[in-house]
Amino acid sequence: MSAPIPGSILVTSDAGDAVQGDSALLNPTTGTVLSTQSFIYARSADRVPSGVNAIGRQQSSSDATIVALDVYDTSLTLVASITSLGSGNPQTSPIGGNTSDSFYIAITPFGFTTHSTVYRVSSAGVLDPTSWSIPTSSTPNSNALIGIAPSADNRWLYYTVQPPTGDALLSFDLINNVPGPTVLTLAPTEAFIQPGNLLMLPNGNLLVFVATNSETAFEVRQLTTTGVLVRTYPLAADAANGDAPELFRDYDPEFFWMRTFPDGTLHTSLFTQYSLTTGLQIVQWTSQNLNGSGQVPATCPNIVMGPEPPGTAKVGQRQTVPIKWVRRTSQMSDELLWLFFSEFQLMFQPGVGQANDPGANPQIGLRWSNDGGNTWSNQRWVSAGLQGQYGTRAIWRMLGRARNRVWELTSTDPVVWAMVDAFATVEKQA
């Protein structure tokens, strides 16, 4: 495969699919197949960090035997192939990864009917899935694992599956550094992502929720106000097939994707991109027969390729702030004699106050410096006139003495400001 365009989506089939071992790289805007490749497939619950690399499993060309766990860079060039890791081999396990804490985590062993309670962590410090030196561990409450991933602040998440019928409820539990499990009742399997320190997940009606990882628990808020897509067949079908609607993270952290299988055949995938800020749909397209041979790599995961864009996680808040203006004059002096200031008058457009606050009675502030602008007097405020009071004059009196003086005017009121001149009444030292 050639280098993916930024944000392109690598879709792979997993070991539960009849066409396991097929993969396709999709254009994120149109869904067009950019390229295909055989013998890369991934587990349904793999959660590889976006923009870092891809995890694939190499299958024998003669049978369904898994040969190796492969690691690919963002150009889909093979960087490592792991053929044997002994007990708890992550070759056959769902894998999660975390770039900030630099480790991978895997459930092991893993099956479709018998779920494990054991997980294993790769060597920390370098994001290297080829080294799994840390021994296996078991879940604290013996809940079976179907997915697992580390969060940005080093809390490891696992989720367990309830009876796979109807709108199955999942329990999301936390392990490592968390005093007790937090349980969220959520429907589809294998459908969560973690942009930054958020956990995003859909419920049974495919409303997307955002859970903020707090000190002791996840605080959940609903992101979308309507179902993010039309549910065209029962979620039970997903659960039965192990192929759930799936959320996955975008190349740009501002966005996330949901992939579903609207006709229930697993041969048609509906990809929908949403804004994390607004919850609104941005792009939607449908893909069929992705690998060009009449088959669809229908199952999860979906891995977004390309480098992480910098600085896009900031969201911001809309606010109204005043426009503050400042006018500081040049120095007034006259042979460094004492100047006695009895009055300062500003020639400006008065009577421009608003009908209501803010700005109903606009104010102008004056302060001065007698040392060239190093230290300043207190601010003195006068009115610029209510609405229609065109005879208002802005005058300041009893302004002290100085050998040189700098004046400074300011205001923050939201009115039309126009100043044309200023005059000081000055007596010079005899």
Partner: protein, 383 residues
């Protein structure tokens, strides 16, 4: 005694020299024979026109009824009512992006972002990465359109390229191809088109090329136009008021704002402004944008870490009266000592849908800039 209230900003090396400030004010000079007084006027405010996902707004463009923007890693089309549609994904780096169009000759938009080049088809809405074209100057920094050709230059090099005529999907030697600035040895800092001429300010000198119509490569340097001034901060370059402005440097020194007059640069920054610029650690990350409103042509220059005693402000040069003022955002909730400004939120500008549109340097907001807006209705991003 008359007090010189109408004036701009000028900060000397020491306050005893001068410490004049005009922040968020516009200096209006009277017509020469009118006898009227000059005035200080308030500046226009911002209100949110649309809020794109991601951040920041890296380029904004409008032509013949359609508007486009690059925000974060997305290329968007925005509409008159403030709605928008994502038209494609772009590569991202810390630099601004650029957008230009060949209009009805090719119905194409050319986007340069993150070193890549992209063509958006105005009819089919296809968004194509053209970086792999044989003569495309990857990694590119800035794109332009002139005389039927799209063009771009390669970062940290002396090489620039032209596309095929009216077709930015093809970059080969059939109609365009690569060329190298040849009158001097310094790398191209940035480029801009003014009056169908391409200006290439480098790190020490500036070359100007024009279309001479030759078959193999249509552009060539204009004899005798090499200028002994280069650019300091590639994104301080702007085309304004029928000419070119930038922060300049050459082998003798730097940090003057200059304006082209013919094929020579005139320094337009007063010593006070040059003092401020020189005090900044670097011009890297500095961005200039420009607009014309109510008869004033403004060159807006934001320099990171250009500290003043009122915080960091955006320098604003009014070409119409040769006056420097400052712009800044003042947030009463966060301003230290009550008087600290942060730089104006603007980063790029276009005039579209009969209004001034300004892209936010922090968020994905595009603002309408208007004198009717007397406060700042903006998107604030915490650190």
């Amino acid at each position: 005694m008359k007090i010189p209230i109408v004036g701009g900003s000028y900060q000397g090396l020491a306050r005893i020299v001068d410490s004049e400030r005009s922040i968020n004010l516009i200096v209006e000079r009277p017509a020469p024979d009118s006898g009227a007084l000059g005035a200080l006027l308030g500046v226009p405010g911002y209100s949110v026109f649309c809020w794109l996902p991601g951040a920041p707004v890296r380029a904004i463009f409008w032509q013949d009824g359609r508007g486009f923007a690059v925000c974060g890693g997305g290329f968007y089309e925005y509409f008159a009512n403030g709605s928008f549609t994502r038209r494609g994904n772009v590569a991202v780096d810390g630099n601004p992006a650029s957008i230009c169009s060949n209009g009805q000759a090719g119905f194409q938009i050319f986007v340069v972002s993150g070193g890549h080049g992209y063509i958006f088809d105005l009819n089919t809405l296809a968004f194509t990465d053209v970086t792999s074209q044989s003569e495309f100057p990857a990694p590119a920094l800035t794109g332009f359109f002139t005389d039927g050709y799209f063009g771009a230059f390669q970062q940290d090099s002396i090489t620039f390229s032209l596309s095929n005529l009216e077709n930015g999907l093809i970059w080969d030697i059939a109609q365009g191809g690569k060329a190298q600035v040849s009158q001097s040895s310094d790398n191209i800092g940035n480029c801009i088109v003014s009056h169908r001429e391409i200006w290439f300010p480098g790190s020490k000198t500036t070359e100007v090329w024009s279309d001479i119509g030759t078959a193999d490569f249509p552009y060539a340097p204009i004899p005798g136009t090499t200028i002994e001034r280069g650019i300091d901060g590639p994104f301080t370059l702007a085309s304004i008021d029928n000419t070119v402005m930038m922060v300049s440097k050459n082998q003798d020194g730097s940090r003057d704002v200059v304006r082209a007059n013919g094929y020579a640069f005139q320094v337009v920054s007063n010593p006070g402004i040059s003092n401020l610029l020189s005090a900044a650690p670097s011009m890297e990350g500095s961005i200039a944008w420009n607009y014309v409103q109510n008869g004033h042509a403004f060159y807006m220059l934001s320099v990171p870490d250009m500290e003043t005693d009122y915080g960091i402000t955006t320098l604003c040069y009014d070409v119409s009266n040769n006056t420097w003022t400052e712009r800044g955002l003042w947030n009463p909730n966060t301003a230290q000592n009550g008087i600290q400004f942060i730089p104006d939120l603007g980063r790029c500008h276009c005039y579209g849908f009969d209004q001034h549109l300004v892209g936010d340097r922090q968020s994905g907001a595009i603002y309408t800039m208007s004198f009717n807006q007397k406060a700042m209705d903006v998107v604030l991003v915490s650190a």
